[in-house]
């Protein structure tokens, strides 16, 4: 015989609009073992919580059912209420009558009936619940940051400054990310290098940061507080412990590869550093471009290297690092616009993408900062086309958020560096950051022409050979504009960095339909993920600008700190356990678990479960033919009782 209290939340009108909440509370009071049932406008508020706490004491409750929103939202809130009232926190049951009832119907009859059914099931189940005890584990102090763009750099520095040891993993041979490719940043037009390179240097110098460039994560084991991450150091063919960064080798190298750093606009040596301010200042050999690797002879670099640092035999190496938390900050790529044939990217030399243009502006770029076309001439008219592949159901539905602003920045730089007429073809101007509207005003007054209409087609000019014509509707006048230009700049959709699918798999992150990593909650847990102890920052979560990225990086660092600051942490008690005497050793559980929690104990001949990895999803219990696995908090009896309660309706 238990004593159950039922608390029905209105959630303002979110629930009350399609569920008769007071009728539901009255109904609850008629159910077995229910001694008190109430409804209230916002159960999660302080008065709501106090009401539950008081009723626990007053009515000597030993079970509490909160009929409200998803347990993802407030289960922890109400567990705390029970804990503070002296009850075991697993004795609270959340009945989701918002996401699963009120929000999925417009019919109050239907809504009320379904709410009664699920509540009935919950009461049946609650009667069979028992207290559970959480396990406590040790927590590793260190943090890994994956990706060393501005987000990863910022998060690493913040953490390192608190005294935590940070492993910063970067897949390229230098840190800095896309920000290091830019010349200026909007809306202040700060020199990108001036604000970024000191941070890059600080990373290099920091005693608490272990910088691992040209590395990729290859395996992740463990769980929050105790991750074992294996990192692959890709072969650089240069022993960096011997190399002093004199770069004599790069002068002699005859091998030519495409400069990734300059977005393929120019070639670079096979042995190279990506750009003069690269961190670390140590070269690597591009195997595909190296004459020795291709033809079997050359080794000029080896001859000029006084430190004997060249090592053509070098292999990839693997290191396993133990950390308590991980921040993933893997950034973005621009979508490939070549398949959008109407814009002629890759076909007409006058069509550029945004990152290529960033390099044209940059004094360390292929033109030394001059804006010239591929034939060396200065453009007389330039069209910037917004939303190429973004806000487009045929490609990516999302808004890439920064294109409006960087397109304005481009306009300014074009005006500064050329005498060209500059046009923007836009759908909407989105300038919703601090100082952004003011920046937009400034650019408008620099006599940039704005055509409200998406660029529809880029074609070769029939009248002027070598020139291009941009076609679009100026929706403001309703006229069809044919604009002759020399240069077209595409602002393509920002998409997750290549390889982020693999990162998602390794760290068990979910992704949205465009491949961006999913946050735990879009508003209240934007930097956490469904994988405990793994945090995200920057554009890998969704397109954003540098200020927002830096803010997220700081936030993710603080989130990671909340874990690694602790010596020990409590694990969720709702895990599965194996009854060894019933186990038939079929290992179904080992095969189905997405978290790798069950393992087969060869010695004992039975499956066992690593509780620290177990998320309590119950998959193993459901596939166990011998019913040897018990999912705590979701035992067969409990689940069957709940179904029985549901089926009564």
């Amino acid at each position: 015989m238990s004593r159950i209290g039922v608390f029905v939340c209105h959630c303002g009108l979110n629930i009350a609009k399609t569920v008769r909440v007071s009728e539901l509370a009255k109904f609850a009071s008629t159910l077995p073992d229910v001694v008190v049932a109430k409804d209230y406008k916002f159960m999660c508020s302080t008065p709501g919580q106090e009401m539950i706490a008081n009723d626990i004491k007053k009515h000597k409750l030993d079970r509490v059912i909160v009929s409200a929103c998803s347990p993802l939202m407030h289960e922890q809130t109400f567990r705390k209420v029970l804990e503070n009232a002296g009850l075991n926190k697993y004795l609270v049951t959340i009945v989701n009558i918002r996401e699963q009832v009120s929000w999925v119907t417009h019919d109050i009859e239907e809504g009320t009936a379904k709410a009664k059914a699920v509540l009935n099931g919950a009461v049946y189940r609650a009667r069979l619940l028992g207290p559970l005890t959480s396990r406590v584990i040790d927590v590793n102090d260190d943090v890994m940051v994956v990706g060393a763009g501005i987000a990863g750099i910022q998060a690493s520095l913040e953490l390192a400054n608190t005294g935590k040891k940070v492993y910063l993993i970067e897949k390229n041979s230098t840190i800095g990310g896309h920000m290091a490719q830019f010349d200026k940043t909007f809306p202040t037009l700060d020199c990108s290098a001036c604000i970024l390179t000191p941070k890059m240097d600080a990373v290099m110098q920091h005693k608490n940061i272990t910088l691992m460039t040209y590395c990729e994560v290859s395996e992740v084991k463990g769980f929050v507080g105790n991750f074992d991450v294996t990192v692959r150091q890709k072969a650089r063919y240069i022993d960096h412990s011997k190399c002093n960064g004199c770069l004599a080798c790069t002068e002699k190298c005859p091998g030519k590869g495409v400069s990734e750093w300059d977005e393929g606009l120019v070639k670079r040596k096979a042995i190279h550093i990506p750009f003069p301010q690269a961190v670390p200042q140590r070269p690597i050999i591009d195997r595909d471009a190296c004459v020795f690797f291709k033809k079997g002879k050359c080794r000029l670099c080896e001859k000029v290297c006084e430190h004997k640092a060249i090592d053509f035999e070098q292999q990839d190496t693997f290191t396993t690092v133990k950390v308590g938390a991980v921040i993933v900050a893997t950034g973005y790529d621009l979508m490939d616009t070549q398949p959008l044939v109407q814009y002629g990217y890759g076909k007409y030399p006058g069509v550029y993408n945004a990152l290529e243009v960033e390099r044209l502006f940059n004094s360390t770029g292929p033109t030394g900062g001059k804006v010239t076309l591929r034939d060396g001439k200065e453009p007389q008219a330039i069209a910037i086309l917004h939303c190429i592949g973004s806000r487009d159901k045929n490609n990516y539905e999302h808004c890439s958020r920064v294109c409006c602003m960087y397109s304005l920045k481009f306009s300014h730089l074009f005006k500064e560096k050329t005498t060209a007429d500059v046009y923007q073809f836009y759908i909407d101007m989105r300038a919703a950051g601090k100082g952004y509207e003011e920046f937009y005003n400034r650019i408008i007054e620099e006599d940039v022409k704005f055509i409200r209409g998406k660029g529809a087609r880029v074609a070769e000019s029939a009248d002027e050979p070598g020139r291009l014509v941009v076609e679009a509707e100026d929706t403001i006048t309703g006229k069809f504009v044919k604009l002759p230009v020399d240069m077209v700049v595409l602002s393509p959709a920002m998409i997750p960095r290549s390889g982020s699918k693999e990162i998602a798999r390794l760290f068990n992150l979910s992704t949205d339909k465009n491949g961006f990593f999913m946050e735990r909650h879009p508003k209240l847990a934007p930097l956490s993920t469904m994988s405990e102890g793994i945090f995200i920052a920057g554009v890998c979560q969704s397109p954003k600008d540098i200020p927002d990225t830096v803010a997220q990086a700081n936030g993710a660092a603080a989130e990671a700190l909340t874990i690694v600051e602790k010596d020990k942490m409590e694990l969720e008690a709702t895990t599965a356990m194996v009854n060894p005497s019933s186990c038939c050793a079929c290992q179904n559980c080992v095969r189905v678990c997405p978290y790798g929690a069950p393992f087969f104990n060869e010695q004992k001949g039975v499956s066992e479960i690593n509780e620290a990895l177990c998320k309590g999803c119950g998959l193993c219990a459901s596939v166990c033919p011998a019913s040897a696995i018990i999912a705590r908090h979701f035992t067969n009896d409990q689940v069957l009782a709940e179904i029985e309660g549901l089926m009564e309706f």
Binding site: N441, I444, K449, F450, R452, D474, G478, K482
Partner: protein, 398 residues
């Protein structure tokens, strides 16, 4: 007109160089068109005019003559675009290409040849005064700037005389300019002839300088705004309504005639209200006159309607149904007023035309505030007009 266009930025730049710098700021939100009094009744679209100007598109001539420079859009523009400057610059650039409408040619021609818009001979500029009123000399305190319209337009001569009488009754040391001056140039500037405007302005400035003018009273708000904004800052310029208001408040002149419940409403001239910020002075004069039952129209002060006479509108033909002055007369009559008072000769002309074409000239009279005020001092306007030449009128100060 072809649907396909190619931006022609040379034209856009020419507009900017002609003073339409503000063209660049516009982001085409349409607040101007939404505010513009012409939008509901004509095809004129101020936003489109700016848009065509921004890109130098053909077809701009369809929109360029619709604006009466009432400044309503300028006051509401979220980007601070000086739309009147843009309109003026566009007219300047395009009328240079022979696009001046037929109806404005006589006006501009008269301005150029005679220095006034009414084809009056320059030597007859002061004939209205019949030598009754003093000329300005270096020893005079106030220059009473007689607008061309009050000098030559038969209806508005009444206003000139009323003004002169009031100045006399106030015992002020004043004089009017000699016939050497010419139009202040406001309207010719707004129709885009910036070169002619400069010529007219220089001529007037020469007069001001040689006669050491520093205090100017205007009867037309168009002259007022032009002197204040375009003639430099060496002059203390007042509209007559401001002066009268001051005289009443300082008890130098006191209205005494009781109008016995005459219902009067007041129309804010765009150039006195929005352009110059004078809203209270004319109202305070009306309220000081005994027996005037003052009523406001729905749209008043900052939100006042335009009569349609600014920006060259006075000289342009408008079709019935496309006249703002007609709408304003209807609005005034809806208040029950039998007198529509205002304080601008252009407004008077526009409204009197409308009362005649609407056939309501017996039901509502158009008067300048000055005229009502003079009557309240006991002067009969009709007598003044009839016998101005030989009337040896001496009014006593109260």
């Amino acid at each position: 007109m072809s649907q396909t266009v190619t931006p022609y930025l040379e034209m856009s730049r020419a507009i900017v160089e002609a003073g339409g710098e503000a063209l660049k700021k516009c982001y085409q939100c349409g607040t101007c068109t939404g505010t513009c009094p012409w939008t509901p009744i004509t095809h004129f679209n101020i936003r489109k005019l700016v848009r065509f100007g921004q890109l130098g598109l053909d077809g701009i001539e369809d929109y360029m003559w619709g604006c009466s420079t009432c400044k309503f859009c300028v006051d509401r523009c979220p980007r601070g675009v000086e739309l009147i400057d843009v309109v003026t610059a566009i007219r300047n650039v395009y009328s240079g290409g022979g696009m001046l409408p037929q109806s404005l040619r006589a006006f501009v021609g008269s301005m150029s040849a005679r220095g006034n818009p009414w084809s009056g001979e320059q030597s007859k500029r002061n004939d209205w005064a019949k030598d009754k009123y003093p000329l300005y000399t270096q020893d005079t305190k106030y220059l009473f700037w007689t607008c061309c319209t009050v000098c030559y337009d038969p209806r508005n001569i009444k206003l000139a005389k009323a003004a002169a009488e009031v100045l006399n009754l106030a015992g002020l040391n004043w004089g009017m300019p000699s016939v050497d001056v010419n139009c202040c140039g406001e309207s010719v500037r707004k129709v885009g002839d910036l070169e002619l405007f400069e010529r007219l302005k220089q001529n007037n400035l020469n007069y001001f300088n040689t006669h050491k003018v520093d205090k100017i009273i205007t009867v037309s708000p168009h002259c007022l705004a032009t002197f204040k904004k375009e003639y430099g800052e060496n002059y203390d310029v007042l509209h007559l309504s401001q002066l009268i208001d001051k005289l009443i408040k300082e008890k130098k002149l006191s209205p005494k005639k009781n109008f016995g419940g005459l219902k009067v409403t007041y129309h804010d001239p765009c150039y006195l209200g929005r352009h110059s910020g004078v809203y209270d002075a004319p109202r305070d004069i009306l309220k000081a006159i005994p027996g005037i039952d003052f009523v406001e129209m729905g749209r008043n002060r900052e939100q006042s309607m335009c009569c349609g006479g600014g920006g060259g509108g006075l000289w342009m033909e408008k079709l019935k149904g496309e006249r703002l002055s007609d709408l304003r007369i209807e609005e005034a009559m809806a208040t029950g007023a039998t007198v529509l008072a205002t304080s601008c000769p252009y407004c008077i002309t526009m409204f009197e035309d409308s009362t005649r074409t609407l056939n309501v000239d017996e039901q509502i009279k158009i008067k300048d505030v000055t005229e009502l005020f003079l009557e309240s001092l006991g002067v009969n306007m009709e007598e003044l007009m009839a016998s101005a030449a030989d009337l040896n009128f001496t009014c006593k100060m109260d």
